[in-house]
């Protein structure tokens, strides 16, 4: 049975950046509508079953109820705890269930949580968050078509996907503490609190897996100096402070700040940065996540062990070349 997974985060798009910047309130009914369009796309290419992450809004069930879809839906066998671990756990269960692709609705943080539970099955992240660098801002109907032809085997994973680099946060004993897909930043706070970051005055270092000039969030800072695609597996380390370049960057929706970069350095796969500053908090993909106690240290390693990601443009281009959507009259 051709099966895909859907992980839709009901909490994405509602963090403090609506107050400290100009982020939009992304309501859950909009996520329902996106999933409906996704289901239409999937059904049109023969996907038969969806396994979904249970959530308190019942996003996928509501979406399915609102249309006449031939697709059968089933919850991943788990109870929602309403934490980011739900996404990680759901991803693991979907891998076990043999799905061909996992669609992720959320921001960078949601994709990160999914990547923690899955580095095997390709993911197709759709933006419903705030600072959206990792997920695509594309039409869900098209995403359904792309993920569907990949799952049905008409386009292979090797042809239509790329392996994303990742930043691994390690403790002094080299134990993996957490990961980031786009950016890791050293923040002077000592608490996680409301998670989001919005003041550059409190950030001392940034490590990036990707950046481009039209990006948003912390990767936009590196993006004013370099372009690094996720396919080329080259990272960037920035030490903030006076003495170097100053760049004007959109660090959050509706929030643009000048940022002083004292030092910059490219990273190769396997290379690590030791963070000597403590106490501090390591922000991962724009959210404060790892509290580093006084006297402790962490390392941030640039790695190629990230998730497989569907390259939607490439899949659709390959589908065009193969005439997959050309039908006899």
């Amino acid at each position: 049975m051709k099966t895909v997974g859907i992980i839709a985060n009901p909490i994405s798009g509602k963090d403090i950046r609506r107050l400290v910047a100009h982020g939009s309130v992304f309501d859950n009914q909009e996520k329902v509508r996106i999933v409906r369009r996704l289901l239409v796309g999937l059904a049109s290419v023969g996907i038969e079953r969806v396994i979904f992450m249970p959530d308190y809004y019942a996003i996928v069930q509501r979406a399915h109820k609102g249309i006449h879809s031939p697709i059968e839906i089933a919850s991943a066998p788990m109870c929602a705890e309403n934490t980011q671990e739900d996404s990680t756990k759901a991803a693991r269960l979907m891998v076990d269930a043999g799905v061909g692709c996992i669609f992720v609705l959320g921001g960078d943080g949601t994709s990160r949580a999914v990547a923690k539970g899955n580095a095997v099955v390709p993911i197709l992240p759709l933006s419903t968050g705030t600072n959206n660098v990792f997920p695509y801002m594309i039409e869900a109907t098209v995403a359904g078509l792309a993920g569907g032809v990949l799952t049905s085997g008409q386009i292979s994973v090797e042809e239509g996907c790329f392996r994303s680099p990742v930043l691994e946060v390690l403790d002094d004993d080299n134990n993996l503490v957490d990961i980031a897909l786009v950016d890791a930043a050293v923040h002077t706070d000592t608490f996680v609190g409301s998670k989001a970051i919005w003041s550059m005055k409190q950030i001392t270092q940034i490590v990036l897996t990707r950046c481009r000039p039209d990006s948003i969030g912390l990767s936009a800072i590196g993006g004013q100096l370099h372009t690094l695609t996720p396919q080329e597996h080259r990272g960037l380390h920035l030490i903030l402070g006076p003495g170097g370049k100053r760049v004007l960057s959109p660090i959050a929706p509706g929030l643009i700040e000048p940022v002083d970069i004292a030092l910059e350095d490219h990273l190769t796969l396997g290379q690590s940065i030791r963070v000597d500053q403590s106490p501090c908090v390591i922000a991962l993909d724009g959210e404060r996540e790892v509290e580093v106690k006084r006297g402790a240290h962490v390392h941030i390693r640039f790695s190629d062990r990230g998730p497989w990601v569907v390259d939607v443009s490439k899949v659709m281009a390959l589908a065009q070349q193969a005439g997959i959507f050309v039908q006899p009259r």
Binding site: K14, L19, V25, D27, T190, S194
Partner: protein
């Protein structure tokens, strides 16, 4: 956001004061010492503590039927509160208002409120007064998930937005309106989603994380002070006790309660203060002991105070 150590300690102090106050009321109600109803705030302490830590003394709050936590966090006097709840003449309302009508205008407390959704219009009115007078104040409206379905709350949100009033709407989403889960009373699950309909920011925070609440409210208050209008902050939390003392809670499971008790905001914040060296264990113990002593004095004050005289029945009756 940098948070001063003093503020961190203050927020712990507030949460512990609320917790101990409410535990005593739970005990006294069961013993039949307290007249009337009490609606306890146990489990939700981080919302009041984080919110009021972001306010100045001059700022206003409107409270709810579950208001003890809000009042304590805004500086309410434990003696006067306890005496009022005991129905004694030394209480905030001379013993004739009880738990749901405590107010202290000098502290900006515009009153607890027995009417679900009653605080919204008062907060919007306070916001209008602030704007009219050109004052550097904000008004905070605490309201529950049940109140969010009341027309009064929606009208207040609408006018606050239409008139760009300095009001922060702090929703305490504890999952139940009396015995009704939100799944039975709302088509949506996140009250913050409603903010978009009023062209105001709506955010969700972990209502059991006092720092997360403080950060969000600080940002919302800053917007309001700068003239950028109202905000809606939804704090996801849970009430450990029933709607009122005596409620058998047959509408929810023990497992659900157990899961939320694991998220108790007070020990998790105490651990943070100790781990970060903001307080030593000795200092924390002393802080707790001082609050317990203050509470004991409030209880003695309430118990030893006289009841109102029958002749005073019609005093302070305005209509």
């Amino acid at each position: 956001m940098t948070i001063k150590k003093k503020t961190m300690v203050q927020m712990y102090n507030t949460m512990y004061r609320i917790r101990q106050f409410e535990k005593k009321l739970q005990e006294f109600f069961a013993a039949g010492k307290i007249p009337g109803f009490v609606h306890l705030y146990l489990g939700e302490e981080a919302v009041a503590a984080g919110t009021c830590a972001a306010l100045n003394k001059e700022d206003y709050i409107t409270s709810t039927h579950r208001g003890h936590g809000h009042l304590i966090a805004k500086g309410g006097d434990l003696k006067l509160m306890m005496a009022e709840i005991y129905g004694k003449s030394t209480g905030y309302c001379k013993g004739k208002g009880g738990s749901m009508h405590i107010a202290d205008v000098d502290l900006g407390i515009l009153g607890a409120n027995g009417i679900v959704g009653g605080g919204g219009p008062i907060a919007a009115g306070a916001g209008m007064a602030i704007q009219y007078r050109g004052e550097d104040r904000v008004a905070v409206c605490f309201f529950g998930d049940g109140a969010s379905n009341q027309g009064t709350t929606q009208e207040a949100l609408n006018l606050a937005s239409a008139w760009n009033l300095p009001v922060v709407f702090v929703n305490e989403n504890n999952g139940y309106g009396i015995s009704c889960p939100i799944s039975k009373s709302m088509a949506i699950t996140d009250i913050a989603d409603r903010a978009a309909g009023y062209d105001m920011p709506g955010v969700i925070v972990d209502g059991n994380d006092v720092v997360a609440v403080y950060e969000a409210i600080t940002a919302a208050v800053e917007r309001a002070r700068k003239g950028e209008g109202p905000s809606l902050v939804e704090c996801k939390t849970y009430r450990w006790r029933g709607h009122f003392e005596g409620d058998a809670c047959t509408y929810r499971s023990d497992d659900e309660l157990d899961e939320w008790v694991k998220k108790d905001p007070i020990p998790r914040f105490a651990k943070k203060l100790l781990d970060d060296g903001i307080l030593t264990q000795k200092e924390l113990d002393k802080l707790n002991a001082d609050i317990d002593d203050e509470l004991a004095a409030a209880i003695t004050f309430a118990e030893e105070s006289p009841l109102p005289e029958p002749a005073d029945m019609f005093d302070d009756v305005y209509a």
